[in-house]
């Protein structure tokens, strides 16, 4: 093997490397040159046949050739790889305006009534109120009698109250007309001090744009030895500020009458109407939002409490109405129509969980 032969081989191989038009062709060149039976490998094998004094120079020459060809292969491989990748990236241009599917998480909705109940719960829980519950189908006693509503009271009439058919003993069950029977059940089963709210469905024979035969109320009850009307006013004031998320809320307490409280009051909040929006805490219009009062001594007696020793307040507020005021739904009937368009529009996101730390609404 002469030096010119070496040069020729090197030229040949470098030529082949340079003209390889892809990684596959380049690999073929590599095998031809450096593979087990490649030409350079064969030169190496020829080494043993040489005289010892020739071996060193020959070995150096072959190794030099091997290294240069190897380098050329690497360089070529690198550039071919780059070219291929950049070709691939050019080919892989997506239309990034194609819309992906909306995920389930963003489609699901929580009904405004549930959301508002969660908000109310969050606020009252912070003030130490537990959540009490009771049945929708109530006894006449729990819904009326125990609440100091006499037999002849107009609220008991069939055009106000849903009745079930008379039972064998002559009594009739009712669909509770308010959440107040939960007060009775709670007091019957526990001793003061008590702080509870009782959210739930209530029913009245009524149907028009602002009345539905079923709606939702939250009852509140505090019983201990010291709670008076000042506390009642404070709790409602604190609640309204937290619920409507305003620093100040104007409230007007008006004397009124409910059979189960004495003294009784109705509560208005001040608001302004700006466009379709009702802004609580601004303006000088009044809107009635709830009824409340000090628990009537007869009610306390009916559950076995001594009205000379324990006292407290109760209130009841319409949940659907609070939702309408805060979030602007115009028609109560739509709450119960299960129209997907309405649910998606007025419903709340799954992760929109009311907390006091972030604010009850986001």
């Amino acid at each position: 093997m002469t030096t010119s032969n070496f040069d020729q081989l090197e030229n040949e191989l470098l030529q082949a490397i340079a003209s390889a038009d892809g990684l596959v062709a380049l690999e073929d060149v590599r095998v031809t040159a450096l593979g087990k039976k490649g030409r350079i490998s064969e030169l190496m094998r020829g080494l043993s046949a040489l005289a010892p004094e020739e071996r060193k120079a020959f070995g150096q020459a072959v190794n030099g050739l091997k290294e240069r060809v190897g380098n050329a292969l690497s360089a070529r491989r690198e550039s071919l790889h780059e070219a291929e990748l950049s070709q691939r990236l050019t080919n892989e241009q997506a239309d990034i305006t194609l819309p992906p599917r909306e995920g389930a998480l963003s489609q699901g909705r929580i009904h405004p009534v549930s959301q508002v109940m969660d908000e109310i719960t969050e606020i009252f829980a912070d003030m130490g109120f537990a959540i009490a519950e009771g049945p929708d189908i109530e006894t006449d006693y729990h819904n009326f009698t125990a609440l100091n509503i006499p037999d002849e009271h107009p609220a008991r009439q069939e055009h106000d109250t849903f009745y079930f058919n008379e039972r064998d003993d002559g009594s009739r069950l009712v669909l509770r007309t308010h959440t107040s029977p939960v007060q009775i059940r709670t007091m019957e089963n526990s001793e003061p001090p008590l702080r509870i709210i009782a959210p739930g469905r209530v029913y009245r024979c009524d149907s028009d744009q602002t009345h539905t035969p079923m709606f939702h109320q939250v009852e509140g009850l505090v019983i201990d030895e010291v709670t008076h009307m000042g506390h009642l006013k404070w709790v409602l004031d604190a609640f309204c500020k937290a619920f409507f998320e305003v620093d100040e809320v104007k409230m007007r307490f008006r004397a009124s009458h409910f059979p189960f409280t004495e003294p009784s009051m109705e509560v208005d909040v001040g608001y302004a109407k700006v466009g379709d929006e009702i802004r609580i805490g601004e303006g000088d219009e009044w809107l009635e939002i709830l009824g409340c009062g000090m628990v009537h001594p007869n009610v306390l007696r009916n559950v076995g409490y001594d009205p000379a020793k324990v006292q407290g307040f109760a209130f009841g507020v319409g949940v659907d109405r609070l939702a309408m005021l805060k979030y602007g739904m115009p028609d109560l009937r739509a709450f119960f129509a299960a129209d997907l368009r309405w649910l998606r529009h007025y419903g709340f996101g799954v992760l929109d969980v009311p907390t006091l730390a972030r604010g009850v609404s986001s």
């Binding site: 599917r101 909306e102 995920g103 389930a104 699901g108 909705r109 929580i110 009904h111 549930s114 969660d118 829980a125 003030m127 130490g128 959540i131 049945p135 929708d136 189908i137 002849e152 009271h153 107009p154 009439q157 849903f162 079930f164 058919n165 039972r167 069950l173 702080r195 469905r201 024979c205 009524d206 149907s207 035969p213 079923m214 709670t227 008076h228 009307m229 000042g230 506390h231 006013k233 404070w234 004031d237 007007r252 307490f253 004397a255 009124s256 009458h257 004495e262 003294p263 001594p297 006292q311 119960f336 299960a338 129209d339 997907l340 368009r341 649910l343 998606r344 419903g347 799954v350 992760l351």
Partner: protein
């Protein structure tokens, strides 16, 4: 309750502005519902003076008048016969809405002559039916001034809501008393003078009751006024009645209405010449009936108190009088009744016969029993004044119930219940102004309750009186003490589960609905309900008559309604109560959902990335499992094929901890059930019974240590041939149990029937994952596990490895 400001001021001397009075009324519990000032509505109408009236050139019956108005002199064409020079009438300029003709006036040519406005008749102003000519205001009317005051129509009408505990405020007098107590003026003296009769009452009065019904009418006072002239009542009275929406009839009828609204004391007047023998109150008898003043014939029964004479029933005492004995313009001798009727019987009778009358309204709430005799004195005075005649003495049968009550009152109750500290003098002042009598020097008092306040019977009632008059706004806010530094959690397990379930289901793309608790009975029956005990006696409509046994009928029909609007891919859920029976324990909380069309977790409808597949039972099963998983029960829940009849028998199942502890149903709803509901379907659904889930064990908050190695997982696939009826779940369970330490997961990745699989068989392909514990597994070890898997599957299902 309606009244006018002028009427109120007859009872209270006050300088207060109308708005101040209204605000006070509302704050003390007499909520103002409406205020109507007729002067505002009559503002466009002013006095117009006819300067010259000349015949219309082209019409015999018309005149062309030059009318001097507040806006100068205008020409008006007028058809009234009394239109003449010098007349002062009610002028309406163009642009005015005239109520009696329901029209807005425009400048118009009448038979060729321009007319700029109109002179009005009483009918055109809706004052009366009078339309023979235009209104003549008299010379003293000042041209150009508003006519409201001249017509006596400037008295604002106030309507307030009276709570059922305040019958005393169903008379203007009572309202005035409250206002005076609240510092709005001075209550005028109202002593009703005795009217001496010049003869004995010639009509005998009697109460004919058994002892057990004698309280139906405990007192009946009567007297006669002879030789009355029962014409129309005077203008002032007619105006008042009209202002509050009552139609003037004749003087006697108007007097009874007036006393009813002025004093809350209903009366009745009879034409004495139409009475036969003794007038008496008694219980009705079956078969009796009478024609009432409202034109209806009412059948009475033995629960109703009637007024009768020897000829039979005249009317229902305290509710409505009869036509046969009523007064007319021809009445000469009138018999006046002032009686006391039992509120409860009045209410019951009124309800039974569905009669709404001012008398019933007052008697059922309780009129002042002490005003029976003063009431008849008051009425006699008015009859004599307005109709003339001569009155008899009063004849009284029975006695009104004793209404004077005394309670012990410690004024410290005010502070205890309201937190407001008031001086003794202030407390006394309020109560006295309201008509209470106090004895004692405080803080202990003996308080005598006025006869017109049936609602006051204990100290708390007095506290209410004091606080409502002093003003609830006087009570300062007082924070309730904080029980814990950081509020403790308050939700029960059930409440937490309910709330979490909602968010889980919404997180699966479902929209939460709230549907009615009552549904049509046939729908209830189709879902295992419809029992008699769950039927409403008085549903608002037949569609809302049965308490729902399940949430699904409401959701399925809601899906159909959405489908009808073009939203066919509906995914909805509800978390709420349903009813297995009427008792409290039979109410349960469920989470239920429906999916229709292609409303699946991966998206619905057509899409470039792949069209949504129709929702099937596995979507419903996945929803149910997702909830159970979130609540911690998915791992132990077994699927079984025992869903109730409202599911498709082949496409449904339950998830249970055991046969007695079913946690959920899932599957396609039965096509026949959907037909009954009028739902097209198919719809898949699930129901999760949140209150049958066992109570969670109180576990440590510390999580168990994580047990993993860095050794590579090994996966092996197996395809088994099993009989068609074999449940995949059985095979999976067998495979999982084949080797407890190494097998960490088994998933089913293929279910296949068809070519290569014999008839009656199916191929189930599973991937078994092995997690080496201490060292990489050798082929021999892997083969040993594989053999165990094959053996376990064969044993449990008879399945063989597919060749």
């Amino acid at each position: 309750m309606k009244f006018t400001l002028g009427w109120l001021k007859e009872h209270i001397e006050t300088d207060a502005e109308l708005d101040a009075l209204l605000d006070k009324l509302t704050l003390i519990g007499l909520e103002v519902e409406d205020v109507f000032d007729p002067a505002t509505e009559l503002a466009p109408f002013s006095v117009g003076e006819v300067l010259k009236a000349e015949p219309h050139p082209d019409a015999d019956k018309l005149q062309v008048c030059q009318v001097k108005t507040r806006d100068g002199t205008v020409q008006v064409v007028c058809g009234a016969p009394n239109a003449r020079t010098g007349l002062k009438g009610v002028f309406a300029p163009p642009g005015t809405y005239v109520p009696g003709i329901d029209m807005e006036l425009k400048v118009a040519k009448i038979r060729g002559v321009e007319s700029h406005g109109m002179l009005l008749s009483e009918r055109e102003l809706e004052l009366s039916d009078e339309h023979d000519g235009i209104i003549e205001l008299g010379e003293e009317a000042e041209t150009g001034t508003p006519v409201a005051a001249l017509l006596g129509l400037d008295d604002p009408v106030i309507e307030i809501a009276i709570t059922p505990n305040r019958p005393d405020c169903l008379g203007v007098r009572g309202i005035a008393r409250d206002l005076a107590a609240a510092g709005m003026g001075k209550l005028r003296d109202d002593t009703v003078a005795h009217v001496e009769g010049s003869l004995d009452c010639p009509v005998p009065v009697e109460l004919k009751f058994d002892p057990e019904t004698s309280d139906a009418c405990s007192a009946f006072a009567g007297r006669i006024v002879r030789d009355v002239n029962n014409g129309p009542s005077p203008d002032w009275l007619q105006r008042r009645l009209k202002a509050i929406g009552l139609r003037p009839i004749n003087a006697l009828a108007d007097i009874t209405n007036y006393v009813s609204y002025d004093r809350g004391r209903p009366l009745h007047v009879y034409d004495a010449d139409k009475l036969a023998g003794t007038i008496h109150a008694r219980m009705g008898k079956k078969g009796e009936e009478f024609l009432a003043l409202d034109g209806n014939t009412y059948k009475v029964d033995e629960t109703m108190c009637v007024i009768a004479d020897d000829s039979g029933v005249l009317g229902l005492g305290g509710i409505i009088g009869g036509e046969s004995s009523g007064c007319s313009e021809e009445t000469v001798n009138v018999f006046i009744e002032s009686a006391y009727f039992d509120p409860i019987r009045i209410a019951a009778t009124g309800r039974k016969l569905n009669i709404l009358s001012d008398a019933r309204y007052r008697f059922e709430r309780g009129v002042d029993p002490a005003f029976v005799v003063p009431g008849i004195e008051y009425a006699a005075r008015m009859v004599l004044d307005l109709c003339g005649g001569e009155t008899s003495k009063v004849t009284l049968a029975g006695e009104p119930p004793e209404a004077a009550r005394i309670i012990e009152f410690n004024s410290s109750e005010v502070m205890r219940l309201t937190g407001l500290e008031l001086a003794q003098s202030e407390i006394k002042e309020v109560l006295v102004a309201l008509g209470f009598w106090l004895s004692g020097n405080g803080p202990e008092y003996r308080v005598s309750i006025p006869t017109w306040r049936p609602d006051v019977s204990q100290p708390a009632d007095l506290v209410e009186e004091i606080i409502r008059i002093v003003g609830v706004d006087q009570v300062d806010l007082a924070p309730i003490p904080r029980i814990d530094g950081v509020a403790r959690p308050v939700l029960t397990t059930q409440q937490k589960r309910t709330r979490l379930t909602r968010r889980v289901l919404a997180g699966r793309g479902l929209a939460e609905a709230v549907t009615w608790s009552f549904i049509p009975r046939n729908a209830a029956s189709a879902f295992g309900g419809g029992q008699d005990e769950l039927e409403l006696a008085n549903p608002i409509s037949a569609d809302l008559s049965s308490m729902r046994p399940s949430l699904l009928p409401g959701l399925a029909t809601a899906a159909q309604r959405n489908h009808d609007r073009g939203l066919s891919d509906a995914g909805m859920f509800e978390v709420g109560q349903a009813y297995r029976g009427a008792s409290a324990e039979d109410q349960y909380i469920a989470a239920a959902g429906v999916r229709s069309g292609t409303a699946t977790l991966n998206g619905s409808g057509r899409h470039w990335s792949g069209t949504g597949k129709p929702a099937d039972l596995f979507d419903a099963k996945a929803d149910a499992l997702a909830v159970l998983d979130a609540l911690g029960y998915a791992a132990n829940a077994q699927a079984a094929r025992s869903a109730p009849g409202w599911y498709h028998p082949g496409q449904s199942g339950v998830l249970q901890l055991g046969p007695q502890n079913v946690l959920a149903h899932f599957g396609e709803l039965h096509p026949r059930v959907l037909e009954k509901l009028g739902v097209d379907g198919p719809i898949v659904a699930f129901e999760i019974f949140l209150d049958v889930l066992p109570k969670p064990k109180r576990a440590s908050r510390t999580k168990t240590a994580l047990d993993v190695t860095d050794l590579q997982l090994v996966r092996r696939d197996f395809a088994f041939l099993v009989d068609h009826g074999v449940a995949a779940g059985e095979l999976l369970r067998a495979a999982r149990g084949a080797e407890k330490t190494l097998i960490s997961d088994v998933t089913l990745f293929d279910v296949f029937t068809g070519q290569g699989v014999p008839d009656g068989k199916k191929s189930l392909a599973v991937e078994v994952t092995l997690s080496p514990r201490e060292k990489t597994l050798t082929d021999a070890e892997i083969d040993a596990v594989a053999a165990k898997v094959v053996a376990a599957v064969a044993k449990a299902t008879g399945g063989e490895l597919r060749a």
